[in-house]
Symmetry: C2
Subunit: 238 residues, 2 copies
DNA sequence: GTGCGCCAACTTGCATGCAAGATGGCATCA
DNA sequence: TGATGCCATCTTGCATGCAAGTTGGCGCAC
């Protein structure tokens, strides 16, 4: 029966957290296997077999597969199982453009905040950037990557836009394997610190146009360094 | 069995279009009912009942519901059916910021294309804008809305980024009801034509920075007109 | 009259059955 | 020997059964 619901009912439902379901479990585990390349791109597996491995029936695996397909990580082939998608350099170009768009707007929004909040965000971002500089100093590549990721995550999360956060999360999942792969290829850890600093300054001084421009510039520079690298390695899919 | 697959196999699979499934059918029909407010926001329905109405079992309805939940149109409540989500003015703010980010970058990309392509895109955009002016002249509000939508769709689609297209599609679905509702509230059809023209000019002359700026400005102006309107009408959810 | 608790009805989560599509290999024929 | 077509096998799409969680209402106690 379709029926209207009171505001009270709706408010109550906001609180209700879904209890852990097998579908959530399957989703999390399959995603992890894909991101860690234990299900490498281009491989195919039957839902049956995954179900067996995860100790559940086909149903929750199938439903998790639908979500992963929406995330752009796999394709569910009719009667032929699940295909783990690979990323081409072309996909990385698309992904960078989405990041440029979203992070640029986020930086612009952060630079438009009231003084106190701006300063708080700037301080937080500066902390992550300092951690990057430290990690670089002692040659701690994973540490550098973590701090860099924290900087960019903060940039978007502090802009108070759940949809932007979600978009970035999806895009990050898609490009996770590529990031892991290229981390040790990159030689330009220094430039990032300086560019982050410029973004932070623009936010701190409340200059939205400059924050947007510097955020764009940072990601464009990173992309222009990464893409040729990928292609020179002949990485047609990753 | 998990196994590697040749490039030929993979290429072949690209062609394989999924044949129409009941899940696709359920997804399309449910989405239409939601967008047309025949399933109004805040209402709740059981999967059982929807299945009955669509003449299928619960399974495809449930799987379609998962996809609609990923799209942000509904929430699947454990053992309590499907809840049609409403949009608050706050959501519209988020949505506009995503549009501003994506369309801004798209305009920037279009203005960076080679001469010939830039001109082709500019001409196409100019066509839609002319249609808007005509529709406004004769008071054809739905015609104006269609041409406006075509302009913005073209802006993103011509930027050759499938992910951006997908993001905009999702966002448009989410805000469809709000757009329909506010179409007749708006008084400012004229401003749009002039602003579109500025975006077109920037693309035609190959000025990416200006194209970005004008695209931002256009959507910001539209948002700043719309949001107070929504709030003055006390539209807490729509 | 008011509040509490129990219960019947309903709803989905998940497992499984069945049918039909897809595939690979083998046998057969030229 | 090479090509073709058939068939056994595998895999999913969808329906349905069952169990467990959720809800609303009725009756009972005070």
């Amino acid at each position: 029966m379709v029926r209207t619901r009171s505001a009270a009912e709706r408010a109550a439902e906001q609180d209700v957290e879904r209890r852990p379901s097998l579908v959530d479990d399957a989703y999390a585990k399959m995603k992890e296997e894909i991101l860690e390349s234990r299900f490498p791109p281009g491989f195919q597996a039957s839902e049956q077999e995954i179900a067996l491995r995860l100790g559940m029936s086909r149903t929750p695996v199938h439903e998790a597969a639908i979500r992963l397909q929406e995330d752009g990580l796999i394709r569910v082939l009719s009667r032929r199982g699940i295909l783990i998608l690979a990323l081409a350099p072309e996909d990385m170009r698309e992904i960078y453009d989405v990041i440029i768009a979203i992070e640029g707007r986020a930086a612009e929004l952060l630079a438009s905040l009231p003084d106190v909040e701006r300063e708080a965000v700037a301080a937080e971002l500066a902390g992550h950037t300092a951690a990057m500089a430290d990690a670089k100093q002692i040659g701690d590549l994973p540490g550098w990557a973590r701090a860099d990721e924290a900087f960019h995550r903060t940039l978007v999360e502090r802009a108070r836009n759940e949809r932007m956060v979600r978009i970035i999360q999806t895009i990050n999942d898609q490009s996770h394997r590529a990031r892991m792969l290229t981390l040790r290829l990159r030689r330009e850890l220094g430039a990032s610190v300086a560019e982050h600093q410029q973004i932070i300054d623009a936010i701190r001084f409340g200059d939205p146009a400059k924050a947007l421009d510097r955020a764009h510039h940072h990601r464009l520079r990173a992309r222009d360094e990464l893409l040729p690298l990928l292609e020179s390695f002949g990485l047609k899919h990753l």
